[in-house]
């Protein structure tokens, strides 16, 4: 009983702390918008090429569920991740460590609070669905048909996401940017596994394991396909989720999944699995004990391994003479600041980071031009964790007060930081640049220039605006993934002939102005200080 009380209060405090944050309001706005897009039929499930369900409660509920599992399953991780880190950073964790709170109770409590935040979003989405369904009035309102997929599919999926967020936070090397990037790929892989056999009609005969279908895509997809094939026997099946407009869709009625015990029970497996993952996190959780964290060789990372102070007996109490500075000290010494910023960027990287960076640069020399483009994407993705610090480093390390009280922080420090990121990217892509010039590849050259301008600007703007590296890491990794998939809308580096680099070059300027404007506000705003 006492454990439940601890669990409740821990989850409650954590939930309240998070829901009172600005980022939660932003996410809430996004969820409302997603709810509107799903319920109004702008996000649509379809059976390829053009078979579309009539908008009714079941269809809206399922569309919302797919939206939630796809978007909240991805972004939701980044939203809820951070509660354990916060306990480390604020020192609250060390206070907790002195209480009888057990490790499993802590991780399950954190999972529960993560789950509550994501669950609240689903609840809001459901509200939007009900309102939209009642207002649209195209079909009879059926609360069960609307609610059930969110309840049995989206909610267990969010339970898994909430638990994975706790697991990542308790494993020291997954707590930061590396974990953020890794989750993206794990999520993509898990979604593919979940929908295995559903996305293409040719693979539809593959055996279905409901215990792999954590996002419920196959469960919904099979039912929808079946309904389409009943109405249109010529349909080849398959399942898609898109925002594409269909000129003359062939409509069919889908009344939802038949929620039998056989269907529902596997969904509870995911809830249990989520609790299992949260308990697994307890194994890795160091209970805020710094001695359990083994620092990398020659690389102290935190103040929890302080060097011993020198023996007091040898310290002279008298003060040595300080030579007065003679010249004025407010000159604009950009070169020195640029070198200092560059050093700040590159410090703390291990030898293998540089080795891989050099390897990527060298590989651009020996590959075919098309492969060089791919290598350029990889080379520019490699420093993602460094770039993430641009604009947010002062907040993250709490150096704002001393950095911002120096002369001309907007005109000196911000451009120097941007230029150092630009330099790193230019170096990482230097061989590709030479190759594009020698080959007379104008598109490659324009894309390269756009890239070295756009990426630091994006990093700087998101860092200054959010005060964290997370937004950039999330956006950037998705962006670079889209580049490897050659999606023209995301193509700012000339991967495809349809590249939209000409949009991103001026956008870089807009982002820089936004970053400068936001920093200017921070310099004069009370929020800079605690």
């Amino acid at each position: 009983m006492n454990a439940l009380r601890i669990l409740y209060h821990m989850a409650r405090a954590d939930f309240l702390e998070r829901t009172r944050r600005y980022s939660f309001l932003v996410m809430l706005g996004l969820v409302l918008w997603l709810g509107y897009l799903s319920a109004s039929g702008q996000f649509r499930m379809r059976v390829p090429p053009d078979y579309l369900g009539v908008i009714n409660s079941a269809w809206v509920g399922a569309t919302m569920t797919i939206t939630v599992t796809l978007l909240l399953g991805w972004v939701g991780f980044y939203l809820v991740k951070g509660s354990v880190s916060r306990d480390y950073e604020t020192g609250v964790g060390q206070i907790m460590a002195t209480t009888p709170l057990s490790r499993p109770l802590y991780t399950v409590g954190k999972w529960f609070s993560n789950f509550a935040v994501l669950g609240l979003m689903i609840l809001i989405l459901l509200g939007v669905g009900i309102a939209m369904n009642l207002l649209a009035g195209t079909a009879e309102f059926d609360l069960w048909a609307l609610t059930a997929p969110l309840l049995f599919i989206a909610l267990p999926c969010m339970a898994i996401v909430a638990a994975v967020a706790v697991l990542f936070e308790t494993i020291a090397w997954l707590r930061g940017g590396l974990g953020n990037i890794l989750y993206f790929f794990i999520f993509i892989f898990a979604m593919v596994a979940s929908a295995e056999g559903m996305l293409s009609p040719a693979a539809a005969d593959k055996s279905y394991s409901s215990f792999l279908d954590f996002a419920g895509w196959r469960l919904i997809g099979e039912s929808v396909t079946h309904a389409a094939q009943m109405a249109y026997p010529e349909s080849a099946g398959g399942f898609a989720f898109s925002i594409t407009d269909l000129a003359n869709p062939k409509m069919f009625v889908w009344n939802g999944i038949d929620w039998t015990a056989e269907v529902i029970l596997p969904r509870f497996f995911f809830l249990l699995a989520a609790i299992g993952v949260a308990l697994l996190a307890a194994v890795f959780f160091d209970r805020f004990n710094p001695s359990r964290v083994l620092p990398a060789k020659n690389r102290p990372t935190a103040s929890n391994h302080p060097e011993p102070a020198p023996a007091p007996a040898v310290m002279p109490v008298s003060i040595p003479h300080l030579t007065p500075l003679t010249g004025p000290s407010d000159h604009f010494r950009f070169a020195a600041l640029f070198v200092a910023e560059l050093k700040l960027f590159l410090k703390g990287q291990r030898w293998w980071w540089y080795a891989i960076a050099l390897g990527l640069i060298a590989a651009q020399l020996f590959s075919e031009l098309e492969i060089t483009r791919i290598l350029l994407v990889v080379s520019w993705t490699w420093p993602i964790l460094i770039l993430g610090g641009l604009g947010s480093r002062e907040t993250r390390h709490d150096t704002r007060q001393i950095v911002f009280s120096a002369p001309h922080p907007l005109l000196n420090q911000l451009p120097a930081a941007w230029l150092s990121a630009f330099t790193i990217l230019a170096l990482m892509g230097s061989v590709a640049l030479v190759r594009f010039i020698l080959a007379g590849d104008t598109l490659g050259l324009l894309g390269w220039i756009t890239g070295v301008l756009f990426i630091p600007s994006l990093a700087l703007a998101s860092g200054v605006l959010t005060g964290s590296s997370r937004a950039f890491e999330v956006i950037y990794i998705l962006w670079m993934y889209m580049l490897t998939q050659k999606v023209p809308q995301f193509d700012f580096i000339g991967m495809t002939p349809e590249s939209t680099w000409y949009i991103y070059a001026p956008l870089a300027g807009v982002l820089l102005i936004a970053a400068a404007f936001a920093r200017q506000r921070q310099l004069t705003n009370r929020r800079v200080s605690r």
């Binding site: 300080l322 007060q401 911002f404």
Partner: protein, 292 residues
């Protein structure tokens, strides 16, 4: 060299003022800013350091309004905030080089100044170690060094001795005294002994308002013949607290020696003693009520 503060106010919420209608004029020397927690000291410091904008009033550095032209002050400002962080992957030396570049020092001056400052703050031995491995006191000393990098004309230090061991505290006090000749130093603290050792002027702040601004001698004169000490039975302590401003107690085997601030002798056995700044501070703050 003059720092003038006129009608300075900072309102955080509709019903909460961090600082209200604050006036002050400072010249070269060390000014100790004393006040209980939440008195408004850090709010004042942050506005002086151009970090926070005032809600009302003006701060002028040599007649230049720093709200309009903050860089005029920033060029000659050294600031040690109460809470600050460092970049854990940089060594102490690299961090100071970075801060020197940000403050616009040329390479030669920066190198010499950093070498001297590392000696001054006793960090020569640790200069090439990453800051992530520094103890709290060592980080505080790095903070002190960065504040002095540009040989500031206005040095603002907010709770500078927090985390320092007794010997380092003495060193820092000596350093402030050495530096105080031709610059304005504002030292904010609630440790009266730090101010007692260094300040040429003292400002007592409470509830966002200035209670007193005077030289330490003047403040001490205010309590001349008003501080009393006597031996009382332990059970009377609570009653004494109710009646007088209690500024100190020492437990003894025959009772408790109490020290109070009172206009008249509290008992026939009470002896009048010389006032200390601690007595003055407690007397001023107690009469004004507790902090916010």
């Amino acid at each position: 060299m003059k720092l003038t503060i006129e009608h300075l106010s900072k309102q955080y919420r509709r019903d909460f003022w961090g600082l209200r209608d604050f006036d002050l004029e400072l010249g070269p020397g060390v000014t100790g800013l004393l006040g209980p927690n939440g008195a408004g000291k850090s709010t004042l410091m942050r506005m002086l350091a151009t970090i926070t904008q005032p809600t009302g009033g003006t701060i002028r550095w040599n007649d230049t309004d720093i709200a309009r032209s903050p860089d005029t002050l920033r060029a000659v400002l050294g600031y040690l905030p109460q809470d600050f962080g460092v970049y854990p992957n940089l060594t102490g030396l690299e961090f100071l080089e970075y801060m020197a570049a940000i403050k616009g020092l040329d390479a030669k001056s920066a190198r010499r100044r950093i070498d001297e400052l590392l000696t001054v703050v006793n960090l020569v031995h640790a200069a090439k170690r990453p800051l992530g491995g520094y103890s709290g006191g060592m980080k505080q000393r790095v903070g002190i060094a960065q504040a002095l990098l540009n040989d500031p004309q206005l040095l603002i230090v907010d709770e500078p001795t927090v985390g320092l061991d007794p010997e380092e505290r003495v060193r820092f006090r000596n350093l402030l005294s050495d530096l105080s000749g031709e610059r304005i130093i504002i030292l904010s603290t609630h440790i009266v002994s730090d101010v007692e050792a260094t300040a040429t002027e003292i400002v007592v702040v409470n509830k966002g308002r200035k209670l007193q601004h005077a030289a330490p001698e003047k403040l001490l004169q205010m309590l001349e013949n008003k501080v009393w000490q006597w031996l009382a039975p332990s059970e009377e302590l609570s009653a004494i607290k109710q009646k007088h401003i209690l500024s100190g107690t020492v437990r003894r085997n025959d009772g408790i020696q109490v020290r109070v601030v009172s206009d008249a002798a509290p008992t026939s056995t009470a002896q009048c003693v010389s006032p200390s700044l601690e007595d003055v501070y407690l007397s001023l703050v107690s009469r004004n009520g507790a902090g916010q």
